[in-house]
């Protein structure tokens, strides 16, 4: 991609234009330049002069960027409502994953361990996979949602502050989440599963949960940090 189009892409993304509009705009502009070049060649210009004339006719990067950023309807949600994308959205998504994890835990308990007082017992066979999916969602949920958040932030060149806040929220919830199962209180009555947030009753438990929150934050931020590091400007030395 030509340098001016790379510059235009960065400017549009930083201005909050939705990535799909940016991508299509650049595709269309590159096609347009090719058409203009063809037209200029047909008019008798050399390939170099035709290229120069085509780029000039397309307009300066400033003008091309302004035309797009002047249209608020083409802005991404992460630019229109970053608070929703980086706080409400991930919390809702994590809540959904936790709900699925709890449903898997409860249904697995009823299917594979009928009559057991708790689902937290040694299991075998298909039950390992069934409960494993639930466990993966429960333990990996905050990190998975964090990665998705990092992807959104990277694609849309969002502010690092918003991403940091979103990841902190996920780490807070992930570190404090606790699942418990309560056995049947009477014969024929199924047990139930609870999920709540707690920072622990003892300083040791609180420290452990803080450690979990820190680990979640670091793992969730890792892909974004690597991406940022790879894109860092390389110094001349």
């Amino acid at each position: 991609m030509q340098k001016r189009f790379v510059e235009l892409r960065e400017r549009l993304l930083r201005a909050g234009v939705a990535p799909r509009h940016v991508r299509r705009y650049l595709d269309e502009l590159m096609d347009h330049v090719a058409d203009l070049r063809e037209e200029e060649v047909c008019a008798g210009k050399t390939a170099i002069d035709a290229e120069k004339a085509a780029v000039e006719r397309l307009g300066p990067v400033d003008q091309l960027a302004r035309a797009m950023t002047a249209r608020p309807e083409l802005r991404a949600w992460s630019a229109r409502a970053p608070w929703a994308v980086f706080s409400v959205g991930p919390v809702a998504l994590l809540g959904g994953l936790y709900l699925v994890a709890c449903i898997l835990l409860w249904t697995g308990w009823q299917i594979f361990l009928p009559g057991a007082k708790t689902p937290f017992v040694p299991i075998h066979g298909v039950a390992v996979i069934y409960f494993g999916v639930g466990r993966m969602l429960y333990w990996g949920g905050p990190v998975l949602v964090g990665w998705a958040l990092g992807l959104v932030a990277a694609r849309q060149r969002s502010s690092v502050a918003w991403l940091a806040a979103g990841l902190a929220l996920l780490a807070f919830i992930g570190g404090a989440a606790q699942v418990s199962a309560f056995g049947p209180v009477a014969p024929g009555v199924p047990g139930h599963v609870h999920l709540w947030l707690t920072w622990g009753a003892t300083p040791e438990e609180t420290m452990g949960r803080l450690g979990s929150a820190g680990a979640i934050y670091c793992f969730a931020a890792l892909p974004y940090v690597i991406w940022k590091w790879k894109r860092r400007p390389v110094s001349a030395s």
Binding site: D31, G59, A67, E73, L74
Partner: protein, 117 residues
């Protein structure tokens, strides 16, 4: 090159109207639209070569246009066409424009013009 200059002061809403009118006839891609506007208006109205696309994206976002990728002579392009909403919008804008042109014509050609002379 005069034909390649844009005239922004009187252009508010004009590119949109012209684009809708052209696309009412047939589906077109960006370059074709810019060329068609230039040819049909005798280069009096010149839409910026690159800035036609945000207008197209905006109109599509509002439901007035639809787009599809089509490969013609080995080149893949995005063609735009009018939707039912776009047709209604074109009718509304055409009526508004005709009204406005008539009123301004009256002012310029009527007693105000005589006063200027």
């Amino acid at each position: 090159m005069a034909g390649h200059e844009t005239n922004p002061n009187f252009m508010n809403g004009v590119p949109e109207l012209l684009i809708l009118r052209l696309l009412a006839e047939q589906e077109m891609y960006g370059y074709e639209i810019v060329q068609a506007i230039r040819e049909r208006t005798g280069e009096v109205v010149a839409v910026g070569e690159g800035v036609v696309y945000p207008v197209l994206h905006g109109l599509e976002h509002e439901g007035a246009l639809r787009s599809r990728r089509k490969t013609v002579q080995g080149r893949s392009r995005i063609y735009y066409s009018l939707t039912a909403m776009g047709k209604r919008r074109l009718a509304r804008m055409t009526a508004t424009w005709a009204n406005l042109a008539a009123v301004i014509g009256n002012v310029l050609g009527g007693r105000h013009a005589e006063a200027i002379r």
